[in-house]
Symmetry: none
């Protein structure tokens, strides 16, 4: 994860290193290998993630290619890319099974012999012994490394990444070497490896122009509303070269400001001030901070606790909160009362309230929040009840209807929302709304 | 979602149409245009969707490329593809705004003049008048069509698709023409257009070979273990042309079998029998069925209910179950007892058990499961307690330690696992293990 502190530090470093004046834009290409991609069995999340990480670091990918796990296809795509690019990143095919052919294909294309890396072999052996599992014969093949390749450590698996210099003149007619990075396919192995080892290596070999990119995360407004509030205010900076992007996800909208050039930091800071002024408390964070992280951090500082009562979100709010390390210090727990039975037994919602108003109603959500606060012995409680759909709606309460309540030691507040989306999006949007209500209540505390 | 019934139907139809005997495999390439793809601000869902639709119809995409919205980039990628492929599909850039350059770029590359299509213009005018909106000047440009192109109707927007024949010898040295299809970027326009108009056109111009692809989803074994059990058994079929792929995700591994040719269905069926025999109850489904869907479906059939007690997974199991429409008929609710307080109050775990054995222990998980069963008045209950980490581990119980219990009306069973992953992966793997234990118990019921 890229933190803004790092970004500023890195940017300053880059500015000092990079000579002034225009330079030829760097050419970066991405190759994703995987037959499962070609038959549409998985979504290529590597493209988005890597393109974004690279763009945020000042490297814009100019072409991405996906090919099957076949040596010839990988070699053709790689050769084409090396004829053009300063940097080529290849994902997938470094594991132990028979369809993992990237390492061999690359070594053969570059004419490099493979040798066993004793340190890597030791790490692979350790990985299995630590887990009390025998070492599969195939796993030893993962210790084979092309001559002169730099090994990128895999903290979450056995397939190491590789970084190689491809000498000038080998594929393209320039005086500069190209650089090649191979990353393993599983996202939980690829992502930390890229951030910790590959990106620093890229920055060392291919310093980028001064570039600052910051993303402001907002809640509670739609994409058009966000643009209507900030677009015209940023117009002068856009003329100077500021790039502005909007990105909507369930329940939130990002505003991204980027600038390349000598005054990058100053221009983005001016844009930030305008965005924060225009959007006020709708901006909950910059860059990769998540709502749940803010909430757990702030509760920890205050030494306060929270309990949750969920019906239609089915555990999604609680799941988000417990993704944060250290959540156990502030999170008492959640009551996922999907049935009226548990609303009564676990939260003390009155049978009469359920009968008169129905499970999806303001009186019920207020009793749920009060029940969670009392039974969880917490300082804050948030409760949600609604109709996720597709079935279950009525004219008065269509599918998508949600009631959210916030309970503190002194009061219970309630809101009614309409989130007319598909079931999963409904859960995500409602979760975001509930977390945002909790964030604002805790910020005010 | 692909159902096996559909797959068989399609396969049979193809088999009847396609002449026997070997033929050269068709080369299909996909080009996605969009600068937003290159900076990683959106996920490329077109790739998966189109690759899958094409594969299921017997056309395997051998290369996918993404390039920015720039005429030169689109032309270079298209020229490369037309030098190799029988069929090239390009997405995006057909709309009315300044960054929509695909139509012009293609016409210029192929040397075709653009002419206004009167019928298309009439449809575009109708689109706006039906909605009571004035016709933007830029929208008229969408009626410009390269000479001899076939117009593919857009039921959900104004940007028509286009289908073109590229004569033999123009880009590649064969006696056959290539075929080119341009589709608009928005998924809700692209998808119906592809299904209703583009795919029938492809089938007419390029009849495909018989192709069958099935994915078997497994739980409880690692990727190397799965391959060790099935790889050698499939060897004879691989010699005949069966393609075998493995794909690992947190807590599960897919085995994908695909075959192109006259005996596709028979060979994949033989492969399936071998996979199912070798992996037994580890195979939980074929194709796109998820564990939670199986569980809710089976419980609904049995008219049985489930309740859940979660500690370390923090609501993740409950979130998965409630993603399934209709879950409310079988899911009583969940007790997310992140604190000892709630373990005692909500589930009736004894203070003594917590004191003597600790919250992460077999006796506690058994009492949690029994408590969830009793208080949820359910037929099945699953309980989980563990150390998600990164903190909280000890020598005896390192971070990653998990206890899972299953309670039924007649017994409580417990398991101990070690899931030494990062916090999120830990939650996902543990959730998968718990759902798998529940699946097996329900299957046996």
């Amino acid at each position: 994860m890229l933190r803004s502190a790092d970004l500023h530090r890195v940017t300053r470093m880059r500015r000092a290193e990079v000579p002034a004046g225009p330079r030829k834009p760097m050419i970066v290409e991405l190759i994703n290998t995987g037959s499962e991609l070609m038959v549409g069995r998985v979504l290529n999340t590597h493209q988005q993630w890597l393109c974004r990480q690279l763009a945020d670091a000042g490297y814009c990918v100019s072409r991405q290619v996906a090919v099957p796990d076949a040596a010839e296809c990988i070699q053709v795509a790689l050769k084409e890319a090396l004829c053009r690019a300063d940097l080529v990143i290849v994902t997938g095919g470094l594991g132990p099974t028979s369809d993992d052919v990237t390492r061999d294909s690359v070594a053969r294309l570059l004419g490099l012999p493979l040798r066993e890396d004793p340190e890597l072999l030791r790490q692979i052996e350790l990985f299995f012994t630590e887990r009390g599992r025998p070492i599969p014969a195939a796993a030893r093949g993962e210790a084979m490394v092309p001559l002169n390749a730099v090994v990128l450590k895999n903290r979450n698996g056995t397939a190491a990444g590789l970084a190689l210099e491809v000498p000038a003149g080998r594929f393209r007619h320039t005086e500069k070497s190209s650089w090649l990075i191979l990353l393993p396919g599983p996202p939980r192995e690829l992502r930390p490896m890229f951030t910790e080892f590959a990106l620093p290596w890229i920055r060392e070999k291919l310093p980028s122009s001064a570039f600052v990119c910051r993303t402001f995360r907002t809640c509670g407004l739609g994409e058009s509303q966000v643009q209507a509030r900030v677009g015209h205010r940023l117009a002068d900076l856009v003329v100077k070269g500021l790039s502005v992007g909007y990105c909507a996800r369930p329940g939130e909208v990002d505003v991204r400001l980027a600038f390349t050039g000598a005054d990058a930091e100053k221009n983005v800071a001016e844009g930030e001030a305008l965005v924060r002024h225009a959007l006020g408390e709708h901006v909950y964070a910059a860059d990769d901070v998540a709502l749940e992280g803010l909430i757990v951090g702030r509760l920890t500082d205050l030494q306060k606790t929270v309990a949750i009562a969920e019906s239609c979100t089915g555990g999604c709010i609680s799941d988000r909160i417990t993704n944060v390390p250290g959540a156990s210090a502030v999170f008492r727990g959640a009551f996922i009362t999907y049935s009226n039975l548990l609303k009564e037994k676990c939260l003390g919602v009155k049978a009469e309230t359920l009968r008169v108003h129905g499970a999806v109603s303001e009186p019920v959500v207020r009793e749920m929040a009060a029940g969670a606060l009392g039974r969880g012995e917490s300082d804050f409680a948030i409760a949600v009840t609604g109709i996720a759909g597709p079935g279950g709606g009525t004219d008065e309460k269509p599918a998508g209807t949600v009631f959210i309540a916030l309970a503190t030691r002194s009061q219970v507040l309630a809101w009614r929302m309409i989130n007319p989306w598909d079931r999963r999006t409904f859960k995500e949007v409602t979760t975001q709304q509930a977390l945002n209500i909790l964030r604002l209540a805790i910020s005010a505390a």
